[in-house]
Amino acid sequence: MTGLDKRMSLDEVVGRLSDGMTLGIGGWATRRKPMELVRAILRSPLKDLTVVSYGGPDVGLLAAAGKLRKLIFAFVSLDHYPLEPHFRAARQGGLPVLELDEGLLHWGLRAAAMRLPFLPTRVGIGTDLIRQDAFRTIVSPFEDREELVAMPALKLDAALLHVHRADARGNVLTLSADPFFDELMVRAADQVYVSTERLTSTAELDVARHSRYNLIERTAITGVVETPFGAHPTSAAPDYQLDLGHLKTYVDSASSPEAWTTYRSRFIDVSPESYLAAVGGAEKLAQLPVPVY
């Protein structure tokens, strides 16, 4: 055993972040979002964040709390409620954005992961996306001389992810069938903080048997915080499913400033233990039915 110990508290993670940072948030819409970390950011004085996300309630909460300076996104959706109400309100209020195709977002992270300034693509040709200031075009130096879109690297100051299992050294397992683009978020970032359903010994990870679930090596991981049900109300299948009931409560919180204040006092400005109790307790969450997409 090396002395390497990356365990942190939620507050320690948030303490490592600073105003104006560009944060990548892992997961996808209503799946495997590091929500406990997001709630911890809401409780902190952090501000002026640029967020890169395949967006769901992570973006909605940060928008509702006025934490965003800019959003880099391809969509923000609650899947079962296609239009994210807090995101809509912020967007309609003029929140600055860089809007991307889902694949362009991937491509920008990949460019950053490869330490390249950009990657060429055809995605965006013919659309309004490439009329945004961030974009340039580049002519192929080969015989085809095709003019292509240059997707700029999306360099992240920090990435936040939720995983299923981790050890204290930052070895991680993501057990869901779809890893989304978490690995690219990690590789595009200077610092990476993971919340994990369970902190285990290295032996318990049984990486040899779960090799496909080991998305990234520990040298890329900065800190690990244990957060049972830390993705709630999004899913962390197979451990637990999306909480459609809470999602409704969340959507309703956008109906008025009072509703948001109430939601915030019940579910944000509380400890993780109180949150778990407020949303029905571990036993209930473990039994949530499989949603239909």
């Binding site: 923000v76 995101f87 309609q92 003029g94 809007e99 694949g103 040709i125 013919g126 309004d128």
Partner: protein
Amino acid sequence: MSELYYSLAEIMITAAAETWRDDGEVLATGIGPLPRLAASLAKSTFNPALQLTDGEVWFTTEPVPPGPRTGATIEIEGLANYDRVFATVWGGKRHAMVAPVQIDRFGQTNISVIGSHSRPKTAMLGVRGYPGNSVSHPNSFFFPAHNTRAFVANEVDYVCSAGYNPERYLARRPPARLDLRLIVTDLAVLDFGGPDHAIRVRSLHPGVSFEQVQDNTGFSLLRPEHLPVTPAPTAEQLAIIGRLDPNQVRKTVLKGDPPGDRRGAG
């Protein structure tokens, strides 16, 4: 005349299924219950090679019904995680039918915002995968309500998918894989078969006139010399649709679940 009753949703499903008839072995994606049932019908009848997903993360051997899943276990035939779906998109082995909010005369579509991009009147989803889809593989479109809010007079408010608009090509070169196929609406089936890919009416649903389609479209439509009526679903197709949609989700998509044959409806 056949006495067979069919709903508008059902004739839209059978009309939409046609878009995948000659595609061979590709990923068929139908977004929304009716396009999804259309892809399912295409796979269950004339193109069994199509590959479908459960809408989440698996390729399935048989189409998965929209709505609650009960009864038989779903056989999974492969992993359809997003990284792989993106790779399939870029490789071109896919044909999607999507349901945009707006479309214009170039076939450009919008699901991002109504109004200005910097301060939208209405913020919707964001462009999602539309830009990449549009320059990578064939695309078709589905509109449950054909009207001038959807079929707009000028360009769509935010161009999310490429269309046949040379003004927007890079170096005046059309994207190599730009390939727009069908538009299925509650009034008609349209395609891009006019000069320079102009949109034309391909068939009118029973009881709908060309003028009615034109009046509900913000730009001029081409009227071919021979303008057929959209074929009615066959008894066999209706039976298969019934099996593919045991939860009867198709009855909830169009207001009042109207009949497909509107002849003599006044």
